[in-house]
């Protein structure tokens, strides 16, 4: 029996169902905000506009990964294993967009 240490499930909160639906409405709201902003900013083209949409995407990602994929209830080790590499990816996205602007300026 010493081999079968039972894992206590990092249990989902009791009101998981209401949490799920709340997350759904938040995601829907952010999608609507995305589209409204897109049409409001249709004629502006600048770096901060790109930044706004990417940040909104990251916020939605937080809710999907955190609540739907249960990440906020997991252990710190697992959180950092998955999230730390992705932070560098966001950095990479920003770098390549800046690089693209430079390519445009020398084209």
């Amino acid at each position: 029996m010493e081999h079968t240490e039972h894992i206590e499930h990092t249990d989902a909160p009791k009101d998981m169902k209401s949490k799920i639906w709340r997350t759904f409405w938040i995601l829907l709201a952010f999608t609507v905000i995305d589209i409204v902003l897109y049409f409001m900013l249709l004629t502006t083209h600048s770096m901060w506009k790109n930044a706004i949409f990417i940040v909104l995407g990251v916020v939605k990602a937080y809710y999907i990964v955190g609540i739907f994929m249960h990440m906020t209830f997991e252990r710190k080790t697992l959180k950092y294993t998955i999230i730390l590499p992705m932070i560098f990816v966001i950095f990479f996205i920003a770098l390549m967009i800046i690089e693209g602007n430079f390519t445009l300026s020398v084209r």
Binding site: E2, H3, T4, E5, H6, I7, E8, T10, D11, A12, M16, K17, I20, W21, T23, F24, L27, L28, T31, D34, I35, L37, Y38, F39, L42, T43, H45, N50, F53, I54, L56, G57, K60, A61, I64, V65, I67, F68, M69, H70, E74, R75, T77, L78, T81, I82, P85, M86, V89, F92, I93, M96, I97, E99, G100, N101, T103, L104, R107
Partner: protein, 251 residues
Amino acid sequence: MATTTLSTEKKFTWGGGKSPFNVSYGKLMMWIFLLSDAFTFSSLLIAYGFIRTSFLAPIANTTVKPFSHLSHNFVEDMVEKTKYFVQDHWPSPELVFNHFPFIHGIHLPLFFVSLMTFILIFSSVTMVLAVEAGHRMAKAEVAKYMFLTILGGAAFLGCQAWEWTTFIGEGARLFTNPYGPRSFAALFFIVTGFHGFHVFSGVVINIIIYINVLKGTYVKRGHYEMVEKVGLYWHFVDLVWVFVFTFFYLL
């Protein structure tokens, strides 16, 4: 009696008798797989961001209003008369993706992709509800929500097939693009195609798990962890769509 509890508990422990991440081995490996898959999609989207910004920004559309009527040869007009689609400017997504099934000749910018986004988010919700029901060992509920998730996935695939058909019907190919820079069409087909393939495999995996749920495999096993694992994959597909949507239709 002792053997059954042993076999279920063993699923959660590793060789050393402990699980360092407090999740089962299979679930951790699903996470690692998703991380590697996220790298693949990131590389595609980073390529999109780079190529998109290395072209001039879309020409702002001031003539075509939402809900207005479209001429029969809309794309040719945009190329020849208004000159919204030219070679050195990236095309404005709202002028490219402005069709809706069964509604012909009306400018409905981004309505259809918004619907697709909604469908995918909703199928993600039904998936997480299936996982939640699995924690309570409620077999009928798990089956119901798994079925709804499969329906949502199939609906999304149908939408994407329609979107591709419309896009190809207007002359877009992997190496030709009537809307302007040809890399626009190439990136569209490769990135949404790659994502669509993930949705397709997700639906297939969901169907397999759904059949297992109906057969009672997980009642015998004592837990619905398999549903959680495919759930992780399904949410990941939704997550990728959030970024595909952001990059393709909004940037």
